[in-house]
Symmetry: C2
């Protein structure tokens, strides 16, 4: 039983800024003088619409998006996007390119194939256990889009820069690094992120789609699976997940007003990652699993000399109020997720603990 809040390195759902949690808590019985909770107000009320509009405008400002881009709030996570993307955007008789950098890429590929869609896996890092991001990829000239996973939560790799697809629309699952760094959105036809890492609580998925992609959407899709409906109805065709969108709006406000935007956020994230990777690299005790040039600034995966020490490390860390350090159940080992809301001091506490643990057990 913890009396106080712990340092939370969970891979998602993950840490949120304390000031955001405090604001949700404060407003929880009476939001903005409505006399109702955010859970109780109408999604068609002025109060909710101003929250939604604010979340959209902040997203556009933070990512420097021009008017061709639409910000949508879908549900059912990135996993539903794996299905919606080929359904909406991969036209009859055409093919799309996919890059396979791990579990989440594989799932995206699987959902396109289930629908009988034609896709080509143009690059994969499976040969070395997904420990790196492929470079110098040859894309198909006639691909409808190129799908990548910008950050691989499980294997701890991240695209250092996005590939040049020579005008073919890029589509990226950015679930675990959305809003962690600035990037040029122009080459993207669509990018998306389950909120539960950098954006808010689980239960909402942000999708940013470019105008020209909307023209591909077939008429005869189920209504709730059509990007055009989300775009035309401003994500209000039916009742959206109001609480999750409210939290996202507060996180974006924190990013803009407290942190000062994505350049500043990226600088902090760089410092956090440098601190932990330099601790890993300093001795022979810890071993990073990702190839240095492909290392993720969001999910730092590492091993200890043996599994017993890993177990001991995770437990002792938790005893010291450092939580969420277990690697994904499919790969084992350790992982520290350093999303936006994880502060530099949290990472300092972790690296201090790592050094002590190494001294005692190395």
């Amino acid at each position: 039983m913890k009396k106080n809040r712990i340092y939370n390195f969970n891979p998602g759902p993950a840490a949120l800024p304390l000031s955001v949690l405090e604001e949700i808590k404060e407003s929880f019985l009476n939001l903005n003088g409505t006399g109702m909770s955010i859970t109780e107000i109408s999604h068609r009320s002025k109060d909710f619409e101003s929250i939604l509009d604010d979340a959209i405008s902040r997203t556009k400002r933070l990512l420097n998006l021009d008017d061709r881009f639409h910000v949508l709030f879908c549900q059912s996570g990135a996993s539903m996007q794996f299905c919606m993307i080929p359904m909406n955007l991969l036209r009859e008789g055409k093919s799309a390119d996919y890059v396979n950098t791990g579990t989440w890429s594989e799932k995206a590929i699987k959902e396109a194939r289930i629908q009988g869609k034609k896709i080509k896996v143009v690059a994969s890092s499976e040969d070395r256990d997904y420990s790196y991001i492929p470079q110098n990829i040859q894309f198909s000239g006639d691909a409808e889009y190129v799908h990548i996973t910008s950050n691989n939560t499980i294997k701890g790799t991240q695209w250092p820069a996005f590939p040049d697809t020579k005008g073919i629309p890029l589509i990226a699952d950015m679930s675990s690094d959305m809003m962690s760094r600035p990037f040029d959105a122009k080459p993207f036809g669509l990018f998306y992120a389950g909120a539960q890492k950098n954006l808010g609580p689980a239960g909402v998925c942000m999708v940013v789609i470019r105008n020209d992609m909307l023209e591909r959407v077939p008429d005869n899709l189920p209504t709730m699976l059509k990007y055009t409906i989300f775009s035309e109805k401003k994500s209000l065709y039916n009742t959206p997940p109001c609480v999750a969108i409210y939290a996202v709006h507060l996180v974006l406000k924190w990013l803009e007003e407290t942190i000062g935007g994505l350049e500043k956020m990226a600088e902090i994230n760089r410092k956090k990652a440098e601190l932990i990777y330099s601790t890993i690299d300093a001795g022979g005790f810890y071993r990073g699993t990702a190839t240095p040039g492909s290392r993720s600034k969001m999910n730092v995966t590492f091993r200890l000399p043996n599994e017993n020490l890993e177990k001991q490390f995770i437990q002792e860390a938790l005893d010291n109020d450092l939580g969420g350090l277990k690697g994904h159940r499919s790969v084992g080992g350790c992982r520290a997720s350093l999303y936006n809301a994880v502060s530099l001091s949290a990472v300092e506490a972790l690296t201090d603990f790592m050094k002590n643990f190494e001294r005692k057990n190395g």
Copy 2:
């Protein structure tokens, strides 16, 4: 600006029990001594699994479900179920019966047709503006299922009893009256409810499905659209909407432990409805829009002598801390939604106001 909480008659998202909101608020920075918020804990942690298990067990107890029934937590509201039901349960070459009792039935019908599924509308109350529930319906002997809308939020009608389908599985959209009264679940193949009326905040949809229906699910559906996946993975194939499920679990606990179950809840709901309908029927000032035998105990729809008076009524009510009384934008008029969390004293305050308003303006 309201300093205090108001009486909330919203149609959904809607009022939640104050004790539930207070518990969410209290635990918001540190849930059960985890040192983390419900927004921050892992969906694969013991803490979350016990919340999920508790929500499932309480649902089974409250609805008296036997082991053939599975309780699932989906996303994207009842609107996504309109699509998933025919996709999963209406097999190639077969047909299903639908009863049309208003907007939400129409949407369910539309989503089956979009998929090219064969359906038959066996009864409709469109002839009298959906003001009643059809009786003595002839169902097709070979229908795969019969789909009904148990309560019609917009038109204020509700099935007083469920039809005898002679063994054909019933499927019901119970979004606006789930858990408001006990019923015999055995004839149902599936029933579902967007949470944002009687169950919790928007962002989660409860689906209860019977074993034999799961056998119909085709293999080649997108993973996130398959009931079998939700059932096999206990709604944890991907990250579920943890906060919304946590709130549902607290609402169900309140229903069981504070209210005392669905018989008791139904008794309170009956009293609330009687109070307001008797106020409507007492003079000629208010006019109920639903046919008496089909009146909803959840959504009471009524008109005043003219639209100006309706506008004035809604505004003065809000000035008196009675909110959410505007009729649906598609029909106008007034509507008081009396979901489980709306107390008898809230309804007394409303009927007192109605009598006063009638005295001054009648």
